[in-house]
Amino acid sequence: MQSSEERFSNPILGLLRAAANALLVPLLAVLTAMIIGGIVIALAKGDPFYAYVGLFQGAFGSPKALSETAVWATPYIFAGLAVALAFKGGLFNIGAEGQLAFGAVMAAWIGYALPGVLGIDLPAIIHIPLAVGLGALTGALWAAIPGFLKAYTGGHEVINTIMMNYIALNLTSFLLNAPMKDPNPDNVIARTPLIAESARMPIIFEGFRLHWGFLLALGVAFLIWLLLWKTTMGYEIRTVGANPDAAKYAGINVKRTIVLTMALSGLLAGLAGAIEVTGLNYRHELGFSIGYGFDAIAIALLGKTHPAGVVLAAILFAAMRNGATRMQFLTQIPVDVISVIQALILLFVAADAIIRYIYRIRAREERVVLTRGWGG
C-alpha cells in the first residue's frame, strides 16, 4: 500500500510507477505473442532464435536499420494518432486507410502539378507546407463526412468509414491509372510522376532515408496530448467520448464535437499519407501504404489510445515490419509470421483478461471506452 502523500512527494517515481502499470499488460502481450510466434516459426521449419536475432538486427542493429525503423514508424504514428484521437471521442475511425490515400494523392498533386498550374517555381519553404497541409486537409474533409453523418443523421461511423474506404481506394486507383498517371512512355504502373524537388521534405542525415517527417510525427503526438488534456476542446472531445448525454447536459455541443473529432482524426491520417509522399516516396503509387490505416487501429489499441503509447506501439510495429526483411534473409521463413505476431499482440491487448489470467495480474486500471453501438 502506498499513500497518496508518497505519490505526490516523489512525482518522478509516481510517474514511473504509472508508466510501468500502463505498460505492463502491453509488454506481457508482446512477450507472449513472441513466444507463440516462436512456436509458429518452429512449425514453419524455421529457427526461432535466428529469426528473432534477425528481427532485432534488422530493426535496431545498425544506424541504417534504426533509420529505416523510424521511416516505417512515421506513418504509423500519424495514423495511430488518428485512430486513437477518434477513440478518445468515442468514435471508431476505420476510414484512416482512405483518408491516408487521399492525403497522399493530394500531396502528390500539389508536389508535381501545382508549380506547372501556377506557372511559377515554388520555394521549398512554401511548397512543402502546402503539399503537407493540403494533403492533411483533404483527409480531414473526407473524414468529416462520416462525422457529419454520425452527428446529424445517426449513421454509424464504422459502417460509413468502411464504405468510404472503398470509395477512396477505388477513386485513388482511378486517379493513379488515369488523370494522374506518370506519363513516361516506359511506365506501366499506376503511379503519379515524381514530385518537384521543392516539395520534398529534407532528409536528416546524409545517406539515410530518415526524414523530418519522423520528428514532425513526434511533435504532433505531443500536440495531440496537449490538445486532449490541456485544452477545452480536448476536454470536450473526451467528455463526448466518455458520455455524450452528460456532455450534452454540461452544455457541450455534441454534434459539433463529433464532426470536429472525425475531422481532426482525418487530418492526422491525411498527414500520414502526405508525409509518406513528401518525405519518402516522392510520388504516390498504388502499391504504397496498403494497410497502414488498418495497422493503425491495432497501434491505437496497443498504445491504449494515449499519444505516448501510440508512439511506442508505432515504433514496435515499425521495428517488426522493418526487421522482417532481415529475419527472412537469415531464416527464409515467410514474413507472414510477423502478421501472426502482430495479430496475437492485438488479441492479447484487446482481450487483456487472457494476459491477466496467465500472469496473475489484478485488474486495477480503468477500462478504455472505445466505441458505442448503434444510436450511442
Binding site: 513466444i35 529457427d47 526461432p48 534473409f329
Partner: protein
C-alpha cells in the same frame, strides 16, 4: 498453478534460446562463394506467376551451379531499395529483382553497388538505346522476352484447334511493343498453319494509356462480339483488358488462351476452358543470366529470353496427339531459329 505456468513459460523461452541446428549461412563476401539473392515484387514467392517462375530459375542456379540462394518477399513498395541493399550489403554476387515496378530501384542500386550483377526480370533497359554513356550500367541486365514467338505458338495451336476456322485476339494498345509482338505473333502462327484462316484481331488503341490495359468490360464485349461472328478460340493479351476477354471466352464455352504466365493458376474463372497461355519463360531466362554472371560473361543491357506455351491442363484430352506433336515441332524450330515469326519488333 501459478508455478506451473511459470515453468511452462520458462521452458518455452529456453526452447527458443537453444537453436536446434543453427543454419550456418555461407560468407557471401568471399570470392569463392557464389550467392544469388532474389527480391520479389509486392507479393509472395509462391504466387504461381512471375515471382514463383523466377524463383525456380534461381533454385536452378542452386542445384546446377552450387549457388547459395535466398529470397526476400517485398511487403511494401517502399522497401524495394532496402530489400535489394540487404543482399548487396551481405556481399551477394547476383541480385535478381522481379517485375517492372522494381526497375528504378534496381537501376539505382546498380550504381551504388557496381560490383554486384543485377538481373531485372521484365525490366526493359532504355539506356541501351540512348546516346548518353553516363546512363549506362554495365552490371544490369533486363530480362525481356520474344513475345512474338509465344504468340506464334498459341496462334498455331488455335489454328489447329478451331472448328469454325475463325480466331479472335483481344489486346491492349499496339503502341506498346510487347503487346504488338504478342498480337502479330499470334496472327503469324495461325496463318503459318492455315493461310486461309479468318482472324479477328483487335487492339484497344482507341483509348489512352490509362485505359488500354484496365478495361475488362471492353475486353469481354469485344471477345463476345468475335464469338458471335463465329470465332471459337480467343487469345487475350494486355492486363485486365485481356483477362476480361479470356474470362468471357471461357464463360461462352469456347477455347481461351492466356498470356505472360500460365493463367490456369491466375484466372480460375477461365481455367476449365483455358487451352494454353503464351508464356514468357522466366525460369530458364533467369538461370541463363545467373550462369553468365558466374562465368564472367554477363551481358549488360537487354537480354532476350525465350517464349513458350503453357500445358493444356483440363483440356489435355481434347487436344489430339498430332496437334501436340506439331506444337512441339514448331516450338523446337522457333527455339533453334530455323523458323522465324517474321514479326517486326515494333509496329511499323
Amino acid at each position: 498453478m501459478k508455478k506451473l505456468y511459470g515453468v511452462i513459460v520458462a521452458l518455452l523461452v529456453a526452447a527458443m534460446l537453444i537453436p536446434a541446428c543453427a543454419p550456418k549461412a555461407p560468407d557471401c563476401t568471399k570470392a569463392d562463394v557464389f550467392c544469388v539473392g532474389m527480391v520479389t515484387d509486392v507479393g509472395k514467392i509462391d504466387d504461381k506467376s512471375f515471382n514463383q517462375s523466377t524463383w525456380e530459375g534461381v533454385k536452378l542456379a542452386e542445384s546446377e551451379l552450387g549457388a547459395h540462394v535466398q529470397y526476400i518477399e517485398t511487403t511494401d513498395a517502399k522497401d524495394y531499395a532496402k530489400n535489394i541493399a540487404t543482399f548487396a550489403d551481405a556481399g551477394y554476387d547476383v541480385i535478381v529483382t522481379v517485375g517492372f515496378a522494381l526497375g528504378e530501384a534496381t537501376y539505382a542500386a546498380a550504381a551504388t553497388y557496381p560490383k554486384v550483377y543485377f538481373v531485372g526480370v521484365d525490366q526493359f533497359q532504355a539506356w541501351q538505346y540512348d546516346d548518353d554513356a553516363t546512363n549506362d550500367r554495365a552490371n544490369v541486365a533486363g530480362l525481356v522476352f520474344p513475345e512474338d514467338q509465344a504468340g506464334f505458338l498459341v496462334g498455331a495451336l488455335a489454328a489447329q484447334m478451331t472448328k469454325t476456322g475463325k480466331l479472335g485476339g483481344v489486346f491492349g494498345t499496339d503502341v506498346v511493343p510487347p503487346v504488338w509482338r504478342f498480337g502479330e505473333g499470334y496472327r503469324a502462327g495461325a496463318l503459318y498453319i492455315d493461310p486461309n484462316i479468318e482472324m479477328f484481331i483487335v487492339y484497344h488503341s482507341d483509348v489512352g494509356f490509362d485505359k488500354t490495359f484496365t478495361d475488362p468490360e471492353w475486353g469481354a464485349a469485344t471477345a463476345n462480339s468475335m464469338i458471335d461472328k463465329g470465332a471459337d478460340v480467343i487469345f487475350g493479351g494486355g492486363g485486365k483488358t485481356g483477362n476480361g476477354a479470356v474470362i468471357a471466352a471461357a464463360q461462352r464455352g469456347v477455347y481461351a488462351i492466356g498470356v505472360d504466365t500460365d493463367q490456369y493458376y491466375t484466372l480460375p474463372e477461365a481455367a476449365p476452358r483455358l487451352l494454353s497461355s503464351a508464356l514468357k519463360l522466366l525460369t530458364p531466362g533467369t538461370f541463363d543470366l545467373i550462369k553468365l554472371a558466374k562465368d564472367g560473361a554477363f551481358p549488360s543491357g537487354n537480354y532476350l529470353g525465350k517464349g513458350g506455351y503453357a500445358p493444356y491442363h483440363d483440356l489435355e484430352k481434347e487436344v489430339p496427339a498430332e496437334v501436340k506433336a506439331k506444337m512441339e515441332e514448331i516450338n523446337t524450330a522457333l527455339l533453334d531459329g530455323s523458323l522465324q515469326t517474321g514479326v517486326s519488333p515494333v509496329k511499323p
